[in-house]
Symmetry: D2
Subunit: 347 residues, 4 copies
């Protein structure tokens, strides 16, 4: 059984383990004030072309989202998210547990939000009997594999600016977004196009770790207090700094994401060639083919993956996720099973 | 400069890094449902002699404390802690941020709580205009190096039972407590003497990781929801399971803690022989010698440590912390500086 | 300008003011432990035919909802509500501010929830990565004037029982529900058909005040702590007890609600006779006629009311609310304007 | 049995009930936007000599404190209070329930805080591992009857200004403070000497109601959202406005407080003349005489009051509270019992 369930099935890229081993016995300050973390923050600032941003390393996506959003908002303010948004469905109410409502805006089929959808939310929130929508939460890639074009983000940022909204991007799979086929966004665009975003490590080759980048000045103050209060400040914070240093020392971060995307491309093209469609438009490392139920059952004999949704009586969509560690031969095997199933049925 | 600042200055014990490397490419389920975590939980149950407890792996002490306490208490219930209790002073109000007051009980000089102190707290909380004290938070070792005897814990547990209080033990430095000179507590006593406790990994050789043990049945339900909601569920949860497997596969956990204690003993004896006293009675890996200020200044030339408190115009207490990684030669060097300073002054 | 904006435009029924004046100088205990509040609780228990319930008096609807729901749920548990549910749209995120997500179930056009809609919510909440839906919030009458039949509530209660869900009813306008044309529910049915509900006073003749009735034993413990903690315990709690004593001493509560309903009936019938339809089916004190925009503009010259929603280019729905204090002559005046406008247009 | 238990044993001053009756059937906007509330806010602004402040009417002291403090602070910030501070001991953790720690500063014997005590708190809160003390909570009168001189408040305000602390005053018994013998503070001084304070109505003749005055601009924004979210926005908000209009239309508010103080003075002088001392220095409407236990038992035959604390084996302090409604004859009776007891013992 080979798993396409997610992009965190394996450990870390070997270079990361090596970096941990090499630095292991050096004595360092705790709580993220070690030399590695400081250096990693500087390196990231350099990569994104802005020295006036604040960078903090945390352990996981839900943790970053709840720490950032709870800190950025006043008690009566709410986050706007797509129905499929991770903070809305898959974080066990972590945002609400910090006191804030998540208000739903209608996304497109690929999980992306645009100005019109957010305007509709603003229109129905008129006075103090309702929460005040204040932060727009988007994910790139989205939870269903979509990714934003530069133009889409520019429009969103302009809209948020006009309406005094904070634009926050969940970058759990930012590597995949930035290396997706057809993508025209660059890492160094993001400080201009968001107020805060994070660069996901866990799903792109790290053991754990996400780098939160805060751009808007008014959101920066006292953020380390928030990290500590949310239980998110690791005593051995070096663990995060060392990993990001390794991922961004050269092009490793993008190479790993690129590999994941290539593996997904191969799956997508193969499945497409076999005549099947997809639930969403995705050029990133999560794809959602719509397959006949018997074929899904057949695939389940050899591969691990999640059944995503029922499409009709005879078809369902499944989710296939690739990663930095996905093996090409396993991708080929899966495509072959799909193609063979078509052949055998057409005979 | 050699640091005695804390027990998380280095990375992890080499065997842990090796275990991570060996298992690195095995595909596993995410979020703590991997084989390593399941096996580690079983191993720990075996070590503590109880299969009817629940075990969860989290990343750090503040995170465990806030997740457990927020889940164990109803909104109007409060935790009782010593003034020096970690949840009271050094967690940036993490407990209060989940909605619960921390009520102070008077501890002894070593940071330990007893029934009489808790009774006093209960006496002044009489009705619904005040919070309802419901959980007793203790640390072993305490934040100032003290550790509980078996008799002390038995008395506390009996008292808590009579007053329907939850007894929760913070075991960030439990390894040090269980291997301290004169200690008569064993790991397998704890399920009988607490309602929940955690076994600290971060400060005893792990990269990160604490194992929460929940004994009382009524505290167990849906705890994984709490972990997820607090941002404490690592996608690559294997990272925690693998480490605890390694620490408890044999006697590594206790050997590491034993080393830390021996190094502290050596410091304590040396400093004591030089004629100096201590702020608290500690046989664990944190000691608080009271030294003349000029000697402290001299030590600061060669060693890193925190000045703890001013004792009088001429003396302060300092905190020296040893760990699994502390080098004996550095301990000897420090003792020598202390002894020489006495000699030079007496001449 | 006569207002049909809401049912809290006037003060209190004169008998209530008299009762306050008569008892004014009697010395009483504070915080709801006065004789009037105790007597009112007994009286209500008698009226609902159950002595084994707990009754608490609070000041307003949002306050009751947030205090009850926050106390009934554990941190990871969520409330299920209709999209139109008051806790979802008009309480400024008060439920979320206590840490709990409000999950939306699809209601019928009249704002009512049934088992099928709740089942759908349960179906998609499968594991600890999502909140755990635990409480079903319904309103009777609903926010758009609908009311539950006895059979509907029986089905809902049975469903909640099977799925271990708490059924909580917001009774801000319970008086109107229980006296609506065609209603077959009685006050004494509610303890059997809900786990907790409240009897609204503010919108039915009181100055302020709602009576929360807790039926399920496990929800009762320490509830007065919750009231105090949420700032909901009035020093002069007598103020609430005295009012409920007066409202339920005889049939005043139902007479007041009956008057409001009759006034709404008269509006509904008149508007219906003039040939107009309604957005929802309501036999209670809130009706939502769909009118041509010019007629709405004409009505606005003489009457205060809210425009509820745009129906098409030429029509909108408006909300008309009647109360215990609504004057029959003003109702007749409004109907006349509507009828005349039709006549003038048909000529 | 005549009660000296507290200052909320009776209903409201008769003029307040009359005002409610007179305005009862006037239709008004809901939720505090009625003409009475607007007019009352203007009247208060006039009385305190500042039109640039915001005024909101809420129902009770705990409610004001939790709504204001939760809104003024960011999540990691804490309130500083005296150990006897109402928010620390008698609000069931309402502040902590909104996520904020209450940090204790050492008060004088009368429950007052000064710069030195607050400086000590600041000194030990040095970094992000601890909460950030940001708001100083004081009460005037204090919970043990003390009141601040103008000079004391000036010093406190200056200190808070230097350290960027918010100075918030709980004025549940502000009337008593401002009319106490020897007091040199005026209502119109408070906007210059605090950042926010409230004028207590409940304990000075209102049925319920407190007027929060926000002076510092940065604390004003969106405060009505906070009121609604905390369940503190009454549908019939007129109820609060009408009462404050009546209390401040002339000198009623100060006359009522003055009466309470005179009654307390008489008690204090009589008890003092009988040879007894007091636990605190109080010229306000709460006094704490230290009496022999047998005398206390004798008083309990005729009067209701709380025993405050044990002083020695034979003596306890009791709390006597007077109000706008306290009857002079009852005060005389109590003094007589005390004096007679002394006579009978000295014979």
């Amino acid at each position: 059984m080979y798993s396409f369930k997610n992009d965190y099935s394996e450990g870390a890229h070997p270079r990361i383990l090596e970096a941990l081993a090499e630095t292991n016995l050096v004595q360092e300050e705790g709580y993220g004030e070690d030399h590695y973390s400081l250096e990693a923050a500087d390196l990231l600032k350099n990569k994104i072309g802005r020295t006036d941003v604040d960078i903090h390393f945390l352990s996981g996506g839900t943790q970053v989202n709840m720490t950032a959003i709870a800190t950025f908002l006043r008690p009566h303010e709410a986050a706007i998210a797509a129905k499929t948004g991770h903070i809305n469905v898959h974080e066990t109410g972590a945002i609400e547990a910090t006191g804030h409502k998540v208000v739903i805006a209608e996304s497109d089929q690929d999980g992306k939000l645009g100005p019109a959808a957010i305007q509709k939310v603003l229109d129905i929130h008129e006075d103090e009997h309702m929460v005040k929508p204040k932060l727009v939460y988007i994910s790139d890639t989205t939870e269903v594999g979509g990714n934003y074009t530069k133009k889409e983000l520019e429009d969103l940022k302009a809209f948020c600016g006009e309406h005094d909204l904070i634009l926050y991007m969940d970058g759990a799979r930012l590597g995949s977004a930035l290396t997706a086929e057809g993508n025209d966004l660059k890492l160094e665009d993001l400080p201009q196009l968001t107020d805060a975003f994070y660069i996901g490590g866990t799903k792109n080759g790290a053991l754990l770790g996400e780098a939160l980048v805060i751009i808007r000045d008014s959101l920066k103050e006292d953020f380390r207090y928030a990290i500590k209060q949310k239980g998110a400040m690791l005593a051995k914070g070096r663990l995060l700094g060392i990993q990001f240093l390794e991922l961004f020392r050269d092009h490793l971060y993008f190479e790993l994401a690129g590999h994941a995307n290539q593996m997904a491309d191969r799956l997508r093209k193969g499945i497409s060639e076999a005549g099947f469609g997809f639930l969403t438009h995705s050029t990133s490392n999560q794809i959602f083919p719509i397959l006949p139920n018997p074929l899904i059952a057949e695939l389940q004999q050899k591969f691990g993956f999640f059944i995503w949704s029922k499409v009709d009586e005879d078809h369902s969509s499944i989710r296939l996720v690739t990663s930095w560690a996905t093996k090409e031969e396993k991708v080929n095997e899966l495509v072959e099973v799909v193609k063979n199933s078509v052949k055998s049925r057409t005979h």
